[in-house]
């Protein structure tokens, strides 16, 4: 409909002329990446149920370019860890992360994934950042779908502003090395 209010993603800063638009490669790549994040849900408990609501029609994460939920780590950009991760699960989570191709981002959804939550116990990993690097933490027990969407939007900001060279930078290599990921 012509009178519908469609909110489009704003173009990056650049020089506009007749028939051309010039901007930096960083901005274009960031824009493309940020608005086509393929999520890989790693759902182990109640936060996963909230994620299902987030993906469904009412909250509709697809509005933010995450229409295509990837259940293969090889095709996913954004690993969303939702729920308690036991220590026995930790190597599997790590393997899933290692199978993702660069660039890859991680969101820890909920208290358990972020810090172990109430499960301060011998069998539970005290936050997934003990085994893999995390970009965005979403608080809540469980977080509401709005909070998860907010977390994804925060990640979009990170992705938009990330340099195309970041993944080959020594700082990034150092970060991976600190997690002993080759």
């Amino acid at each position: 409909m012509s009178d519908s209010k469609t909110k489009m993603v704003a173009p990056p800063e650049g020089v506009v002329g007749e028939g051309f638009f010039a901007t930096t490669l960083n901005d274009v790549v960031g824009l493309a990446r940020a608005n086509s994040l393929w999520p890989l849900p790693f759902a182990t408990s109640c936060c996963g149920i909230e994620f299902m609501a987030t993906m469904a029609s009412h909250y509709d994460l697809a509005r933010f370019g995450s229409e295509r939920v990837s259940f293969s780590p090889r095709q996913a950009d954004m690993l969303m860890v939702m729920g308690t991760i036991s220590k026995k699960m930790a190597p599997i989570l790590r393997q899933v992360y290692e199978q993702m191709s660069e660039p890859r981002w991680v969101i820890a959804v909920g208290a358990c994934a972020s810090s172990g939550g109430v499960f301060d116990t011998y069998s539970v990993l005290q936050g997934i950042d003990k085994v893999i690097p995390v970009d965005v933490y979403v608080p809540g027990c469980p977080p509401r779908p709005e909070q998860i969407v907010d977390g994804v939007m925060k990640l979009q900001e990170i992705v938009k502003n990330e340099s195309v060279r970041r993944r080959s930078s020594p700082e990034y290599q150092e970060l991976l090395a600190s997690y002993n990921i080759k």
Binding site: K87, K88, S115, G116, D120, T121, Y122, S123, V124, Q126
Partner: protein
């Protein structure tokens, strides 16, 4: 003509004498203790006797009693169920704290295979003759037996908690 508890008790005492003792009705379940070295014989008898017919093992688990004397520090608890009479019983076998071991019943009840593994996993009780006694729920790298009272419940790797506000003492963190 339900299966009466005194009938169970009489049959057991007639067969095993003083190796079965401490018969009592705990709430709604008839319970007794058995000498640990007689556990397989007693379970087998309860299963195969044509009157008793306790042919279903509901549960098997461990208990740690750190305040007991050394010979009674661990208990293995067996819950049996007679489906014909809908009668349940509970059996406890106490074993030593320094060398907790007891014969397996996994050759009598196949269902006890995983339950004994779980008991080993959490209490370190050695089930002699078990076909595959290794950890089942916890990760293989774990060195402690977490349900023993000497091991702390909390995870020592936790860094975001200020001990003063969470009732943790230095002994368990």
């Amino acid at each position: 003509m339900a299966l009466e508890t005194n009938e169970i008790q009489e049959k057991l005492v007639a067969t095993f004498g003083s190796d079965v003792f401490q018969f009592n009705q705990e709430k709604d379940i008839f319970s007794f203790e058995v000498a640990a070295d007689k556990i397989t014989a007693v379970i087998l008898f309860l299963k195969n006797d044509p009157v008793l017919r306790f042919h279903f093992l509901t549960d098997l688990c461990g208990v740690h009693y750190p305040d007991n004397e050394e010979t009674r520090q661990f208990a293995v608890v067996y819950h049996l169920h007679n489906w014909y009479e809908n009668k349940r019983i509970k059996i406890k076998a106490f074993i030593s704290g320094n060398n907790p071991e007891i014969k397996t019943v996994s050759n009598i009840f196949l269902s006890s295979n995983w339950m004994e593994r779980e008991t080993y996993d959490f209490y370190g009780i050695n089930f002699i003759g078990h076909p595959q006694l290794k950890r089942i729920l916890n990760m293989d790298e774990m060195v402690s037996f977490p349900m023993r009272k000497e091991f702390p419940m909390e995870d020592s790797g936790r860094t975001d908690k200020d001990d003063r506000f969470f009732g943790r003492t230095t002994a368990n963190c």
